[in-house]
């Protein structure tokens, strides 16, 4: 039971790490579009 829980958390954390890698690699900091920002 417990191991299953840890397994899920670990998988979730690993998946999060993949997302973070994607963000760091592909994020375009040059332009911030942001239409709904009210100034």
């Amino acid at each position: 039971m417990n191991i299953k829980h840890w397994g899920k958390d670990l998988a979730g954390a690993a998946w999060l790490a993949v997302k973070i890698a994607v963000i760091l690699l592909l994020m375009n900091s040059g332009r911030t579009f942001f239409v709904y920002q009210n100034f």
Binding site: D9, G12, A13, W15, L16, K19, I20, V22, I23, L26, M27, N28, S29, G30, R31, T32, F33, F34, V35, Y36, Q37, N38, F39
Partner: protein
């Protein structure tokens, strides 16, 4: 109108959500709000974070003064209403709300109603002012039934940094509940919230910011493109705006959840919308909800009570139309947005008429069976998506420019 596009925010201004600076502030805020044991200290810490974040968007004394005026003024009106407002006729509260709306339009557009507009002589730009005014209206209208109406809670509600820039538009009673209790939902919520933030960062900074060059807004000259590419650019533009805005909301909702404030949702798969009404129930839902609760409902009630039975349908249709125009102009006071409002308003009116007159007839006829077909649902959704995409053109290109693109889309 699109400060990000012009990179009008310099390096010293603005705290970008994808910066290490913001990341550090967010981490610190989450740690503080989850570990400080004394409630008042936590609330004061939140205030510190809110003001720190704000400081990066206030370019001088003028916006500071305006913000201070709005905060103090709103709070004072609340106090006055509590003390003496018991016997005020509805007209007084309505006038207050109208005044807030007038203030919003005058400050956002200094060239509006020029001789009378004080902001023409004193132009000020205040970050998130459209959202600030909504929170003010929420506070003033509901003040009698709100709890924990102290100034600290009020200020933290008004300038809560995760939702300061562009919402979601949270209500005072929900905010103050968590501001007082800092309750965290049972069970593991950290990992899902982190995923939510990551999803938002991907939608906004990976997908939207990279795809935006293919959207019609960025095309130098649409008329020279092949027809399918013009259509693609138009359809893609709505998707880019969706990814951008909903991505920002994901980041903000995830962060607020980690901080102990479950902020309301703003999107519910708007690409599945079957018509304009369904669209606004799935897109910028906190805006729709606000207009529904603070404009549509009071106005409709008034109309239904006073109007002659036979005219009620016509009056309510007018109220729908008016609300749509208000939503459009709230975004920006340009002719482009006005036409956007007219188009959505007309679509809403059309929908009402369809439901009242055509729909029952269709259900009874042989076509009625078609309504349950999945294929029909998908065709309707696609048509609606195309309609919305075309109306969005008016946000950026104004009336003339949008008509040029529409002409190019039908190869005129």
């Amino acid at each position: 109108m699109f400060p990000g596009l012009d990179t009008g925010l310099s390096a010293h201004q603005g705290l970008f959500l994808n910066s290490w600076h913001f990341f550090a502030v967010a981490v610190l805020a989450v740690i503080c709000l989850r570990t400080i044991p004394v409630r008042y200290v936590r609330q004061a810490a939140l205030l510190a974070f809110n003001l720190y974040f704000l400081s990066y968007f206030l370019y001088g004394w003028h916006p500071v003064l305006l913000l201070a005026g709005l905060l103090v003024g709103t709070y004072l009106i609340g106090l006055i209403k509590l003390k003496w407002g018991r016997n005020w006729p509805d007209a007084v509260v309505v006038s207050l709300v109208v005044l807030f709306w007038i203030f919003l339009f005058l400050v956002k557009d200094p060239d509006l109603l020029v001789p009378a507009n004080p902001f023409h002589y004193w132009p000020v730009q205040l970050i998130g002012v459209s959202y600030l005014v909504f929170r003010s209206i929420n506070y003033v209208v509901d003040v009698e039934i709100l709890e924990n109406r102290n100034f600290l809670t009020f200020v933290n509600f008004m300038v809560f940094f995760p939702t300061l820039l562009a919402g979601p538009i949270e209500r005072y009673d929900r905010f103050e509940e968590f501001h007082s209790t800092f309750g965290y939902e049972e069970g593991p919520t950290v990992l899902p919230s982190l995923h939510r933030i990551a999803n938002g960062l991907i939608k906004k900074f990976v997908l939207a910011d990279n795809l935006m060059v293919f959207g019609i807004f960025m095309k130098p000259d649409q008329t020279e493109l092949a027809l399918p590419l013009v259509w693609l650019g138009v359809m893609l533009q709505l998707a880019v705006i969706y990814l951008d805005f909903s991505g920002y909301c994901d980041i903000v909702i995830g962060l607020a959840a980690l901080m102990g404030f479950p902020v309301c949702e703003n999107f519910d798969r708007p690409y599945l919308a079957r018509n304009v009404q369904d669209f606004w129930n799935r897109w910028h839902m906190s805006l729709t909800g606000f207009i529904r609760d603070y404009v549509f409902t009071p106005l409709s009630r008034f109309v239904m009570e006073k109007a002659d039975r036979r005219r009620q349908f016509a009056w309510i249709t007018a109220v729908y139309f008016f609300c749509m125009l208000l939503i459009a102009l709230w975004h920006d006071t340009t002719w482009g947005f006005f036409v956007f409002g007219l188009l959505h308003g007309a679509a809403l009116v059309g929908l009402q008429l369809f439901r009242k007159y055509l729909s029952p007839a269709i259900s009874r006829s042989s076509l009625g069976a078609l309504r349950d077909e999945a294929a029909v649902a998908w065709i309707v959704r696609t048509l609606n998506y195309a309609f919305i995409s075309i109306t969005i053109l008016f946000w950026y290109f104004g009336v003339r420019g949008s008509l040029e693109i529409i002409k190019a889309m039908v190869k005129l």
